[in-house]
């Protein structure tokens, strides 16, 4: 590395000695560092002579910039530089799909919170105060705030010169005008949810002697960040070196750039290390959110409960910049009927530009919103038919060999009916004996002592979902792994190097497990993630165990091949007869031949491999594709909810989940993903909504944007089944997203069962359930 000085507190090699291969649940290699407080998160980094960066953001959702005067800010003591759009060295645009977002605003601002200017100073407070001294003259414009109106009404002002539609996608299957005996329809809305990862955006940039820059940061995808950052800095990507530091959660919110270009610009301009750390309020403005949606649904069925058709129009508010809006429209429409076999489908999806906060990736991308709608519709249909909601779902459940609305045949297990039956059969909470006094802490309102049980009603509800795993619609989706095997201190040691972002999900543990299983060695170190190895793609779409797992498996097998060839040379046994286990090379005929260490000697065996999953293809104008998505995952939830109908207080009493994970590479981590994902779905169901009024976020704090606490999250029964996907490494199926999707409709269904209210918006608030 060519930086002049590396940060004092820097990303560590993970070298804890922990045993356990694929299918076991070894502990995390970063666990000890994390519980000691020694794990180097990006916000913890520090370098000698370091300055602090801060970002001036637009107070208006839509305005023209007449002028910017940086003079007063520049003259403030302690301020080292002030930068604006004119200082962006290269392309003043970036983006994940559409390259449409300025690094720093030029002539217009399109959302409240858009970055306008940067300051570097010797103390974070000095930098923040200097922001107030930057004088920006705005001509305030009327913001575009209604996505559906923007889609329907040509007279709505254009947020971008090319128009307000980011993506329109229809899906047609069978007869789009089919009719049925029993029809239910409804309009459903989903509020804007925040990823609310706990570690705010941060990075430390260190200018290098070769004119480049080293950036230590928290992100989901180093190579995507580097590509966009290098273009904005007008530097060769090789000169923009990125190293992953500790990531305090992500959930989609770190897919887009935030401080990356900004902090590098400040470092290159001042010639000093610069650190930017957002506070919580800035974090709400500094990353994209989950798309709010308005969805019109109509379901037709026979009197017996067989679905005949589903028609829907989905409007997604993408906010000011495209981010992942194209993918949200793709996922939302293709998965818009849910995990059901439906002969006739007509769905249209719009992803729109507005002057609302930009929306992009969040766990369950594009599948969360329609799941709330289609599952609400299934309950409505069950009620109209007088059928049990689980039976109606089981009757229509998609299964292996069925065809999706895009014309894709599911050529892997799709145990939707099984999951529904299993979650229904999990134990329910024990009934309270009528004579005992309930513990008020178990009731809605809890220790606030608002009820002793009077006015409290209970309901049970179900939800099931489908989510595509990995990138889709023709994206070349791959990951890279470098595995090195050598003898260190007399023992074989494997070093695994990938760029796969460890954001908490445990991909570091999984990589160690795969390496131990493939190479039969105990000691496996994880090299810090950086851009000196090939891309891994993003830690998103529940894809890292699939693609980086596949890459590590492939690299290990290449290393193994060379090791076995060495053995064959020396011992005269054909490689086909040899295997690796317990640190030894074993022959099928003559047993243990030698220690791996002995065979290796001073040899260093290193191999790098890419893993590409099966090809996918774009949708055509009718939304057809032989294979739009490489894999689908399914989960089912059952919720038990108590509601105090006098005060409108809701208490989720129990939340249970059955999920198919293909192969649980680390069973305990799988359960952890399901529990955590379910909690985020609970948040959307009853707590979490970014309140946007006239384009402005009204609640950018954890005081006003509430996420579940340990008091809100109930006990869970988690039931994991493994119906392996023959196309995926080890049969794995993505795990992280589905539980976030099916938990929300299950909880709302339970509230409906308790209260009899329609509940067409999430999150459900007190005003929806009172009376």
């Amino acid at each position: 590395m060519s930086n002049t000085h590396a940060p004092a507190h820097r990303p560590q090699d993970l070298d804890d000695a922990i045993a356990g291969g694929v299918g076991e649940s070894p502990l995390r290699p970063d666990g000890t560092l994390k519980v000691r407080g020694d794990f180097a998160y990006s916000s913890d980094l520090w370098a000698e002579n370091m300055l602090w960066g801060a970002t001036l953001r637009s107070p208006h959702p839509s305005a023209r910039i007449r002028s910017i005067d940086i003079g007063p800010a520049l003259r403030a003591p302690g301020v080292h530089t002030v930068l604006t759009a004119a200082d962006v060295p290269g392309r003043n645009l970036y983006g994940l799909k559409d390259i449409d977002q300025p690094v720093l605003a030029e002539d217009v601002v399109r959302y409240r919170g858009e970055a306008v200017a940067l300051v570097a100073a010797d103390h974070p407070e000095t930098a923040r105060r200097a922001l107030d001294l930057v004088e920006v003259d705005y001509e305030v414009l009327e913001p575009v705030v209604d996505a559906e109106l923007a889609a329907r009404d040509e007279s709505v002002p254009k947020v971008h010169p090319g128009g307000n539609t980011v993506r329109y996608q229809p899906i047609v299957k069978g007869d789009p005008d089919a009719t049925a005996d029993v029809v239910v329809s409804g309009t459903y809305t989903v509020g804007m949810q925040d990823q609310a990862f706990l570690g705010p955006e941060s990075g430390l940039a260190i200018p290098a002697e070769d004119g480049g820059v080293d950036l230590y940061l928290a992100t989901q995808d180093l190579h995507s960040d580097r590509k966009q950052t290098a273009a904005a800095l007008d530097l060769d990507p090789e000169l923009v070196r990125m190293t992953m530091s500790g990531v305090g959660g992500a959930f989609g919110g770190r897919e887009d750039l935030s401080m990356q270009v900004h902090v590098c610009m400040l470092a290159l301009r001042t010639g000093r290390p610069v650190k930017i750390v957002y506070d919580r309020e800035e974090s709400f403005f500094g990353h994209v959110h989950r798309h709010p949606a308005r969805m019109y649904y109509e379901h037709g069925a026979t009197e017996d409960g067989d679905l005949v058709y589903v028609r829907a129009q989905l409007y997604f508010d993408g906010g000011a910049y495209a981010s992942k809006t194209p993918v949200v429209v793709g996922n939302g429409t293709t998965l818009g009927v849910g995990p059901y076999d439906v002969a006739n489908v007509s769905i249209q999806g719009w992803g729109m530009y507005t002057n609302n906060p930009p929306c992009g990736a969040m766990r369950g991308l594009g599948a969360v919103q329609p799941a709330f709608a289609y599952e609400s519709q299934m309950d409505r249909l069950a009620a109209k038919l007088g059928m049990d909601p689980v039976e109606l779902r089981v009757r229509n459940a998609i299964s292996r060999g069925d065809t999706t609305p895009t014309g894709q045949v599911l050529d892997y297990p799709a145990p939707v009916a099984e999951l529904l039956r299993r979650v229904r059969d999990l134990p329910l909470p024990e009934a309270q004996h009528p004579d005992t006094t309930p513990d008020i802490r178990d009731l809605p309102g809890g220790a606030s002592n608002t009820t002793h049980g009077e006015g409290v009603v209970r309901g049970v509800g179900y939800g099931v979902c489908i989510k595509n795993i990995c990138y889709a619609e023709g994206a070349d989706d791959f990951s890279t792994a470098r595995v090195r095997l050598q003898v260190v201190a007399g023992e074989p040691l494997a070093m695994v190097h990938t760029a796969a972002a460890e954001v908490g999900q445990g991909v570091v543990t999984v990589q160690q497990q795969i390496t131990r299983s493939e190479l039969g060695v105990e000691r496996v170190n994880i090299h810090p993630n950086d851009t000196s190895v090939g891309p891994a793609g993003s830690s998103s779409a529940s894809r890292q165990t699939y693609v980086t797992g596949g890459a590590v498996q492939a690299a290990c097998r290449a290393v193994r091949e060379r090791l076995l060839a060495l053995t064959a040379e020396r011992y005269g046994e054909p490689p086909s007869e040899l295997s690796l286990a317990g640190g030894k090379v074993v022959s099928a005929s003559s047993g243990v031949l030698a220690d791996i260490a002995e065979v290796l000697g001073s040899e260093v065996v290193e191999e790098t491999r890419e893993y590409h999953h099966r090809e996918t293809f774009p949708l055509d104008e009718q939304g057809h594709s032989e294979r739009a998505q490489v894999q689908h995952a399914f989960s089912a939830h059952r919720a038990v909810v108590d509601v105090d109908t006098e005060l409108g207080l809701i208490k989720v009493v129990q939340l249970d989940c059955s999920q198919d994970v293909g192969k649980a590479v680390n069973p305990e981590s799988v359960v952890g993903q399901i529990q955590g994902g379910s909690a985020q779905g609970l948040g959307l169901a009853v707590m979490e909504e970014i309140q946007v009024g006239e384009g402005k976020i009204r609640n950018p704090s954890f005081t006003d944007y509430l996420i579940p606490t340990i008091l809100d999250m109930p006990p869970m029964n988690v039931d994991v089944i493994e119906r392996g996907d023959p196309n995926a490494p080890y049969g794995v199926r993505g795990v992280g997203e589905p539980p976030t999707i099916s938990s929300t409709p299950a909880i709302v269904a339970a509230i409906r069962a308790a209260t009899g209210k329609e509940l067409t918006h999430v999150p459900v608030g007190p005003e929806h359930v009172i009376g």
Binding site: S25, L27, R28, D30, G31, T32, K34, V35, R36, G37, D38, F39, A40, Y41, S43, D44, W46, H123, E125, Q195, A196, F197, L198, G199, P200, G246, V247, G248, G249, A250, V277, D279, R280, D439, R441, A447, V503, G504, Q505, E668, S669, V671, G672, Q675, G676, G677, S678, A679, Q680, S701, F702, T703, I707, P708, T709, I710, L711, M713, P715, M716
Partner: protein, 167 residues
């Protein structure tokens, strides 16, 4: 101003502290103890929980000057050199750590609980940790970790506070 305080059993001094700085800022940026985390800076998330004279507080809400001549205990002081504290061991063993950003604050809050209450009920655990947000785990494994730590504590007879006076 000059600030003198005792952190994790050691007397420490920080110079040139601006009056507006919080105890959290001083710990993280001036004393080389970044274990306590800043996730909300308004006392909502608990990620910066530390002991102040053996009482858990949000370090972001304590003005640096308020810590003058007082004892502070942080996550870095929970372990006895090589030996992890029972709550630290239990958080690893039970899988209660994912991204780990909430972990330092939760550990201090949990350490306080298991040392105050020998055999906490689930309701007591939830109440004690209600001020600590975790976005990754859904809290189930945190519950398991605190139960395990309490059981192990009972097994060893440790029950006095291990907060600011460690070492």
């Amino acid at each position: 101003m000059r600030l003198k305080l005792n952190v994790n059993g050691r007397d420490m001094t920080a110079d040139d502290v601006w009056e507006g700085e919080s105890l959290l800022y001083v710990l993280r940026e001036r004393l080389g103890l970044p274990g306590s985390k800043n996730a909300c800076e308004q006392g909502e998330c608990g990620s910066c929980t530390v002991y102040l004279d053996r009482v858990p507080v949000c370090a972001c809400l304590v003005a640096a000057g308020q810590a003058q001549d007082r004892e502070v205990g942080t996550v870095e002081g929970l372990a006895d050199e090589e030996e992890l504290a029972p709550v630290q061991r239990a958080f690893i063993d039970e899988g209660a750590v994912q991204c780990g950003f909430c972990t330092p604050g939760l550990l201090v809050a949990a350490d306080d609980l298991v040392n105050r209450v020998p055999d906490p009920s689930d309701a007591e655990i939830r109440e004690a940790l209600a001020g600590n947000l975790c976005r990754c785990t859904g809290y189930e494994k945190i519950m398991a970790a605190v139960r395990t730590a309490a059981e192990r504590n009972a097994g060893t007879g440790i029950s006095e506070s291990t907060g600011g006076d460690r070492e």
